[in-house]
Symmetry: C2
Subunit: 268 residues, 2 copies
């Protein structure tokens, strides 16, 4: 099994990309809905929660753990790797940073993320490690999380919020110095990509860290000889609270219906 961990339903965008890239694999997804959001919590608290979740998922017998949560990837990846030493643990930051550096011609890269991810600086560091000349602009955009969860991903409100966050950096006044690449550094943000596109214009490359992470996981499994050759695949969904809400909101993120009985409640 491949474990996928997130603070809530947002990581289902990563799971959706993984199911598309690796249809023969069996997945177990854990959303820590009792304690979301992680994006506004301190690094210590997020680390503690991520370690508990990783330990619980490891109990399902994993060959690989994907930390779909950007905030947890940013602050807790080394600690989780140390705890689960035998298991490959893949976060979303490094694949996103790699794709951004590959996509950018000008080296001016913007990262849209939660407050916690921006403050931690993980994307900024991961990009600068690969491209020391890059200019990285990290912008917190927490309202997009609420908009995506409420089903207001598209339309005038989402577009007004996109302009609110992005115009200072991408509006014509910024002119030639505007970034040419924008990383969606939160699992919720692929849901509002169309609204974001209206604010940044058609020329900017948008890097979806869910897709880049899924491709990275497939490559890592193939390289390690761990990829499933055939079979039907499978999926278990776990949540730490409110399975009804998980099923209702998660269905939009996964783009398929989720039955309330499909969501298993677990305690960490």
């Amino acid at each position: 099994m491949i474990g996928v961990f997130d603070s809530g339903v947002g990581g289902l965008t990563v799971l959706k990309a993984l199911l598309r890239e690796l249809p023969a694999e069996r997945f177990v997804y854990l959303g820590d809905t009792a304690r979301l959001p992680y994006g506004t919590k301190s690094a210590e608290t997020v680390s503690r929660y991520a370690l508990q979740a990783a330990e619980a998922l490891a109990g399902y017998g994993l060959k690989c753990l994907v930390m779909a949560c950007n905030t947890a990837s940013a602050v807790a990846l080394p600690a989780v790797r140390a705890q689960l030493s035998a298991l490959p643990v893949i976060g979303v930051i490094e694949p996103g940073a790699e794709a951004a550096v590959a996509a950018s011609a000008s080296g001016r890269i913007a990262v849209l993320a939660t407050e916690g991810t921006v403050r931690g600086g993980a994307y900024q560091q991961a990009i600068l490690r690969r491209s020391p000349e890059a200019e990285v602009y990290a912008l917190p955009a927490p309202l997009f999380v609420a908009l995506a969860e409420e089903g207001l991903s598209e339309g005038p409100i989402a577009e007004a919020v996109a302009h609110h966050y992005l115009d200072a950096l991408f509006a014509p006044a910024g002119g030639a110095s505007a970034p040419d690449t924008l990383v969606l550094g939160c699992t919720h943000f692929p849901m509002v990509a169309a609204a974001i596109r209206t604010a940044v214009g058609p020329a900017v490359r948008i890097v979806d860290s869910a897709e880049t992470t899924a491709r990275h996981v497939r490559a890592a499994l193939c390289q390690a000889g761990l990829a499933q050759a055939g079979g039907q695949g499978g999926l278990r969904l776990l949540a730490t609270d409110a399975p009804e809400r998980f099923a209702r909101i998660g269905a939009r993120f996964l783009e398929r219906p989720i039955g309330i009985r499909e969501v298993e409640l677990i305690d960490l």
Copy 2:
């Protein structure tokens, strides 16, 4: 001391009203910032958290506990009262319902709240207990929480969100059957009252449950002979996580600066 409990910074609107009503009292405020928001969590989880918080606050030596959190008031008030049997425990639902019934001429009352508060039905029941003929419309409006915390309480985005939530009930097409009273059933919503006013028009009475609760607390203390006759008052601020964020966002809610050192970090 008077204890004030909330899931985060929102209850500071209640604290602000209490400080105004009872300037000679000493207050201790606890925001459970490690586990917010409560509004999307299950009743069981919210009850468990509220009991832990109430127990911790009781340790400070209280004469009264105010549950400023609407969600916790809605689902956990009986359990907290049972646990702290010697202590008066006052929630925000009953005072808000009482004020709404007093304010409404038509008996058509709308309640704007979080998902959890709406689903629990506590406002609806508290209003109908006082006025069995009332027509109560409960609307979840979770985006206002994010807007208030991000400092976007006013302006075109907040107004667009207000129209999104309220037009179906209050727009002219609703005509004569629109409610004449609107209860702000979440601690965050007084922050966006101006935007809400643009959507409901000038005639609707807006009941601020922070203010009504503060008046109720003063009346209860006076009646019990527990009100502080004089003195300078005082305030301790406790949070379970991210004191820097608490100070920064909380200052807007309390309408006065909060020093980072003023916020004590505690573990529940």
